[in-house]
């Protein structure tokens, strides 16, 4: 049974700036080390639109893992090291709802007692965008679909949905692709069970959640799952891969990729992830 | 120091940590924006739809004919004993002979609840009360029990008959308690009632007649003569 989402209406409609000349790309630590192709494809998509992408080399992490684990001092220390990376007034684009949410809403909290850093953090927060949101609303992404007809299903991360308020963005982007049918899965608004350290601390519950999520995604019959968050992506695809492994299946029963990669592939771009 | 003083002291000691004065809630703005400007008949229709959805029966009748209707409904339901408050204006209009002709014994409330508890729980089939008013938004009756119409009349008997004047239906609960200045003086017990007693405590399956009345039957009187 699919449950309609009653959104809280907490996110006032964001006023988007005109398309800028340049952006800062904040790749996130997870993408940097584990899913770099998602970041690279997002960069390619932006550059293809004529936007200069600046990748500050000193970027590490927004501090979210420590923050949400109850280590605010450690989060502050790491976040503080990132505050000087965005000196120009360019938008900061983040290919992850949870890291975007950290910068947009929580940085100002962790620097509440430090006026100088608070001001800096707040200024960055106001020009920070989740990648898909930026691509749709600021870039105005609209490229013809060049792929074969296919059906995909979409998972939206809880941070994108509830912190960034961008749960409709993925749908709208996919709707621009003429040959792509979006299959909605049951309990779509429900968490995939990742939750960062939650997946390590409470593996039983995390497993139950991701197992249900994988089953719901597979039940759509879609050929793959697309998501704009790499935490969810790894959680879902690695769970599906384990199910395949346990069942002795060679072909992946639920392949998945980042929305950036999917969009790039479908619109004639050269995706980076073919190792 | 008593527990009271310790609790209050703790709360007071810690109060200054909240920096700003918290604004007074703006109830009027919320309700005014949703004012429907509807007629009495529209309110009645909304009330009716609401309370019927909660499994109450509603009968609309002319003001002069509700006693007859009540007697007839009692007969239909096989009520052999109807408990009511004889001292209320409505109670005074009930004619024992008319009810007896239909097989219903009228029983005026007499004495304290302790005196009639056994009968109340085991012998009385139905209770009759007036409603003070109603709420259109939710399909809700407003009851203000009184010495003339005790609380248990609307609670213990398996059937509850209620008399409601259509002119006393308010749009919302908020409107009712504002218009009638409830805060200026409440009875010992005031009640909002929206249907017969029910529960969904077993496997989310709705069942009526949990602990209170199994049936709620509303007689709405109107001067416009909008009988069914």
């Amino acid at each position: 049974m699919s449950v309609p989402l009653v959104s809280a209406g907490e996110h006032p409609v964001r006023a988007y700036p005109p398309r800028p000349q340049a952006v800062y790309f904040y790749g996130t630590c997870l993408v940097d080390l584990f899913v770099p192709e998602a970041g690279m494809d997002a960069i390619t998509l932006l550059e293809r639109e004529g936007i200069r992408v600046i990748f500050p080399d000193n970027q590490t992490c927004c501090g979210q893992p420590a923050f949400s684990s109850g280590f605010p001092d450690e989060a502050r220390q790491v976040a503080a090291s990132q505050l000087d990376l965005f000196p120009e007034d360019y938008p900061v684009v983040v290919p992850s709802g949870s890291c975007g949410g950290m910068i947009r809403w929580h940085w100002e909290k962790i620097f509440a007692d430090d006026p100088a850093r608070y001001a800096q953090a707040k200024a960055i927060a106001e020009r920070t965008y989740e990648f898909a949101e930026f691509l749709l609303h600021v870039v105005g992404f609209n490229r013809p679909d060049q792929g074969e007809p296919t059906t995909v299903t979409l998972h939206t991360s809880c941070s994108a949905r509830r912190e960034m308020g961008t749960h409709l963005v993925g749908r709208e982007l996919l709707a621009k692709l003429g040959n792509v049918t979006l299959a909605h899965h049951g309990h779509e608004s429900e968490c995939c069970g990742f939750g960062g350290t939650f997946s390590l601390k409470h593996p039983d519950v995390s497993t139950a959640m991701v197992t249900d999520k994988v089953a719901a995604l597979k039940a759509t019959g879609a050929s793959e799952v697309v998501t704009a968050d790499c935490g969810c992506l790894l959680n879902i695809t690695k769970r599906a891969a384990k199910e395949d492994l346990d069942a002795g299946r060679v072909k992946a029963s639920l392949p998945g990729e980042h929305l950036a990669t999917f969009l790039l592939r479908r619109t004639g771009g050269q995706a980076s992830g073919s190792n | 120091m008593s527990a009271r003083d310790r609790i209050l002291a703790k709360l007071r000691a810690n109060a200054p940590q909240i920096p700003l004065p918290v604004p007074t809630p703006q109830l009027d703005a919320h309700y005014a924006a949703r004012d429907r400007q509807e007629s009495t008949l529209d309110r009645l229709a909304r009330f009716r739809t609401g309370i019927e959805s909660f499994h109450a029966d509603v009968h609309v009748t002319l003001e002069e004919s509700w006693p007859e209707l009540l007697a007839r409904l009692c007969a239909e339901k096989g009520v052999s004993s109807l408990l009511y408050g004889a001292a209320t204006p409505a109670g005074q209009r009930l004619d024992a002979a008319a009810f007896a002709a239909n097989g219903t014994a009228l029983r005026p409330w007499a004495g304290q609840v302790e005196d009639i508890k056994a009968d109340l729980f085991h012998k009385v089939d139905a209770g009759f009360t007036q409603a003070r008013g109603a709420i259109a938004e939710t399909g809700t009756l407003i009851l203000w029990p009184s010495p003339a119409e005790p609380r248990t009349l609307s609670l213990v008997p398996p059937i509850h008959f209620v008399l409601l004047d259509a002119a006393t239906i308010h749009p919302t609960f908020f409107d009712a308690l504002r218009a009638e200045n409830w805060a200026g003086g409440l009875p010992t017990n005031a009640l909002l009632v929206s249907g017969p007693s029910k529960t969904a405590d077993i496997q989310q399956t709705l069942a009526y007649g949990a602990h209170g009345p199994k049936e709620l039957i509303v007689l709405v009187t109107t001067r416009e003569g909008a009988a069914q």
Binding site: M1, V6, C29, V35, P36, M40, I43, F55, D57, N58, T60, C61, P65, S69, G70, F71, S81, S159, R162, G195, S199, K201, D204, V205, T207, A208, R239, A241, L245 | I7, R12, N14, Q17, P25, Q26, L27, G50, W109, Q112, V113, T138, T140, P150, R151, T152, T172, F174, A183, T188, N189, L191, S194, G195, P196, K198, I202, Q204, G209, H211, G212
Partner: protein
């Protein structure tokens, strides 16, 4: 159906809430998660409740406005809490209600035991009250030889089974009708097996009607206490709350100190958003406003009414601007209904009176962090609870705060009882080390370069991750490498 005969025997309730150790919590969660039957019944029930709630808010703008108003009322009330409690006490006293204050569960039970003894009560019949669960009221009364009988159908079923509620609004939500049918056949004298829900409810009705008639004391909770009029408001569907507060000669109400509002009109929006959020009902069957005992000319109602105001850790939450938001709660249970963790494990696994998201933020104040420090970790911070909360309690934010309080190094003046109870030197060390590396871009680059270069050495067993997933492995090239190499 045979007519049940009176019975007084009631199984002792489930184990008192004594200690929720980390091991016990994990064990309970493990058991619950492997109970397919439990999982499918909770999933079905929660889906049902979520859909019912959603249907109550067809107009998003009304929900937004009502939620903001409800939050404003609760915050306003809390901002004046000590004054409102005094005003409430003065007005209730003027109305003839006896007001008692208790800092601890023991004090509350002692007050009520004293009232019961004064009236030589043998039986106390109870309307639904989570605060009475919180203080283990039934145990305390039974230990003193006084019967305490639950009369809410769900609570009655749970008490008969010797269990505890698994949901604050629907206590027996974990049981099927077949289980209840077997329970009644076994425990209620003269009852044969029937799994017809109407028949089961009628059995409960008959048994409990006799008790309403006999009991000397009725106990209830309070949904809202109105300071300006001295009024106690109760929300219910069954009529047992009215029975408990009307028929016995003594009525005792018990509530947490946070439930007070200033004005009578403040209850109108709160009542509306409560029933719609809780069970997806536009309104409950009964809304009962009690402003005093039976007056001289009145014919029924209790001759004595008492109110017990319980602190039990609430003043600790009150002391902190952020934690105070916990006290905005109106106990609707919507956070449970929408919680993916609660849906998987049910209410009992938490081991606390209040389960689910609200339980995770309120229990640490009631029980101390020594016993509850793991609870705030039992969440993905998905935010579904905060999204549906009718009074906008930022539950995820409070969970994060409590994680911090639990893991902080022991502090001489802790903001919370048990602060630092979850402190583990090794874990803290790992996070400090992590911060040192991640706060120095050079160190971070070196670390990720090594991780990527030596990816073949990545362990194949990765703690909880690989329980159900294939291992994570660093990519051969980091994003920064790809960026550097791009044409």
């Amino acid at each position: 159906m045979n007519a049940p005969t009176p019975h007084t025997a009631h199984a002792t309730r489930g184990k008192p809430i004594a200690f929720v150790s980390a091991e016990a919590l994990r064990e309970r969660v493990h058991e619950a998660i492997n109970d397919d039957h439990l999982r499918s019944s909770f999933r079905g029930a929660m889906d049902f409740l979520m859909a019912k709630r959603a249907a109550q808010f067809p107009d998003e703008s009304e929900l937004v406005s009502l939620r903001s108003l409800s939050e404003a009322i609760r915050q306003y009330s809390l901002s004046k809490l000590p004054d409102l409690l005094e005003q409430l006490e003065a007005n209730l006293t003027r109305n003839g209600v006896h007001v008692h204050w208790a800092e601890t569960p023991d004090e509350a039970n002692a007050i009520m035991l004293d009232i019961a003894r004064r009236h030589q009560a043998k039986l106390i019949v109870k309307g639904k009250s989570m605060v009475s669960e919180e203080i283990e009221f039934n145990h305390a009364m039974e230990a003193a030889g006084i019967g305490a009988l639950e009369s809410d159908m769900g609570e009655y079923i749970v008490q008969l089974a010797g269990e505890k509620p698994s949901h604050i609004i629907m206590p027996a939500i974990h049981k099927t009708k077949e289980q209840i049918a077997r329970l009644f056949a076994e425990k209620v004298p003269g009852v044969d097996y029937t799994d017809n829900v109407d028949a089961l409810i009628q059995i409960g009705r008959q048994v409990l009607r006799e008790k309403f008639e006999q009991a000397e004391i009725g106990l209830s909770g309070v949904n809202f206490a109105v300071a300006e009029t001295g009024t106690l408001c109760l929300v219910e569907n069954e009529g047992n709350g009215r029975m408990c507060t009307t028929v016995p000669k003594v009525h005792i109400a018990i509530t947490g100190i946070e439930k007070v509002v200033e004005k009578l009109e403040h209850v109108a929006p709160l009542y509306s958003i409560l029933t719609r959020s809780a069970t997806g009902q536009a309104v409950s069957t009964y809304f009962n406003l009690i402003s005093g005992p039976r007056k001289a000319d009145e014919k029924d109602g209790p001759q004595e009414v008492h109110l017990v105001l319980l602190d039990n850790g609430r003043s600790q939450a009150y002391a902190d601007e952020q934690l105070r938001k916990t006290l905005q709660c109106i106990r609707c249970g919507a956070c449970m209904n929408h919680c993916p963790v609660y849906t998987r494990i049910g209410g009992h696994a938490y081991g606390t009176t209040y389960p689910g998201p609200i339980g995770k933020i309120v229990s640490p104040h009631m029980m101390g962090l020594e016993q509850t420090h793991l609870l705030p970790t039992l969440s993905t911070l998905c935010g579904a609870c905060g999204e549906v909360c009718p009074v906008k309690i930022p539950i995820p934010e409070l969970l994060v705060r409590l994680r911090g309080e639990a893991q902080s190094a022991p502090h001489p003046h802790p903001a919370m009882v048990g602060q630092g109870a979850g402190y583990r030197p090794l874990v803290s060390f790992v996070w400090r080390l992590w911060a040192r590396i991640y706060a120095q871009p050079g160190a971070y680059r070196a670390f990720t370069w090594l991780a990527s270069r030596f990816r073949a050495l990545t362990p194949s067993r990765q703690s909880g991750w690989t329980v159900a997933r294939t291992p994570l492995k660093p990519a051969p090239k980091r994003l920064r490498d790809m960026v550097r190499e791009r044409v």
